[in-house]
Amino acid sequence: MTAELKTELKVVSNATCTFCGCVCDDMELTVEGHRITKAKNACVLGKAWFLNHHIENRPVATIRGQAVPLDEAVEEAARILVHARYPVVYGLSDTTCEAQRVAVAIADRIGGCIDTTTSVCHGPSGMAFQGVGEVTCSLGEVKNRADLVIFWGSNPAESHPRHWSRYSTMPKGLFVPNGRKDRTVVIVDVRRSKSAPAADLFIQVRPRSDFESLWILRALVKGLTLREADCEVTGVPLAVWQDLAQRMKSCRFGVFFFGMGLSMTRGKHLNVEAALALARDLNAHTRFYIKPMRGHGNVTGADNVVSWQTGYPFGVNLSRGFPRFNPGEYTTADTLARGEADAALIVASDPMANFSQPAREHLARIPYIALDPKETPTVRHATVAFTTATYGINTPGTVYRMDDVPIPLRPAFDSPYPSDQEVLTRIERRIRQQLSER
């Protein structure tokens, strides 16, 4: 029999793409053995995700770069975490809620910090939600009702390519029967990104003037009189802000999606607070909602799981036996850059590529464990590394779409590698045993 004949061919319908926070669950995957060869309905990012996650020939586990059996690596991982004085558990945005839950349990057992990649994407938004609140809705409501859709500091054409076609601007909805024609789409950004040409209105603000711009809109929505000079700092004429404020007040259902252009720029949570307050204020005139554009496939799940279990979404310390939340103190970018953490468990994320240089240098100095389906800079430097199955492609479970809607996963094919949940469960069990032996 030829190799091709032995290869089983199947089609998996309604599979879920977990590459970005859109979590599109209408994928039709053609699977040939251990490889997805077609991903119908996926965008360019989704296609790259599905077509490049096949089974790679890597050891299931390594200790200091040497291949070892799974049990040995679990033993060493547990030993590192149990002996650490200030361990951190970090990552979690590209794995299932079931695995995230076990990661929180590990942090609790070892009395460490639990933090997710939220802290370096929409962490400031999480802080702002606590201060102002979030006037929220689902993407289904946006699809059926929104006639004014604003994207601020976000470039969905490149980061969430199907957001527009599936949820926010193109689809025909119950109260917007003509789809795109019934909606006004506005982009506010510091650069004319690839999303800008598809919008009805593009407003280019000066870098680092989001806070001022949002407060100008708040003032205009409140009916205050502003002068041209008040808007100078934003680089946008008063008339443009007046026009936008008027559109916001007079729409039937407005929604404000914001990206990391707000949360990563100077002002951070204060920028987001201004946006949240603006959306709240607008409800005196019409219905207006606001949602962050979440990046990774299950970063929203990470916020939910950590919140259920500790009461806080990220940056939580469990060393006293009860949860304490303090961004800046217990967030991983800080515990590493300040040289405080003495061991780490990194799940499905790549701080060695994304963190600041002082944080990366410290991570390279301490023992840490990494779980990832692919070889990454973080996996390369790990003391103990596990190759795990890819969530959504090989493992079932639950993920949360960016609007906090849980979506089940339908895996395409089995992996010879264990899931994150399985590895974490084994580590957690060994931690319990090692602690009881002490």
Binding site: F19, K268, P327, G328, Q357
Partner: protein
């Protein structure tokens, strides 16, 4: 060429997003995250052509990358765009100002032709 101060906006691109699924250790991904974009006017003014190497220096660190002209109108003068990756991480500060989030967009950098 004297050093000039710019505002750096790191961000996501389609190519960065697709290539990271292939490998974050080689090939297209490395090329994408090591290319800084300037507006054509700044390129001309500084005598730069596509592919020239430049050094970016922030308060935190240094990164050497190649430069390319952005599409006309995409970037205003004085603003640089760099796809997220190792080079952008080198330029961002470890200090998060009590938020957990380093200032990762809108970073002051000096640009110097190599």
């Amino acid at each position: 060429m004297p050093r000039e101060t710019f505002i750096l906006i790191p961000g996501r691109t389609s190519r960065q997003g697709t290539s990271l699924n292939v490998s974050k250790l080689a090939g297209e991904y490395i090329d994408e995250i090591s290319t800084v974009f300037l507006c054509p006017e700044d390129m001309r003014r500084l005598g730069l052509i596509d592919g020239d190497r430049v050094r970016l220096r922030s308060d935190q660190g240094i990164a050497e990358v190649k430069c390319e002209a952005a599409k006309p109108g995409e970037l205003p003068p004085g603003v640089l765009f760099l796809p997220y990756g190792d080079a952008s991480s080198r330029l961002m500060s470890g200090d998060t100002h009590g938020t957990g989030m380093p200032t990762s967009k809108g970073i002051d950098v000096e640009l110097e032709k190599l």
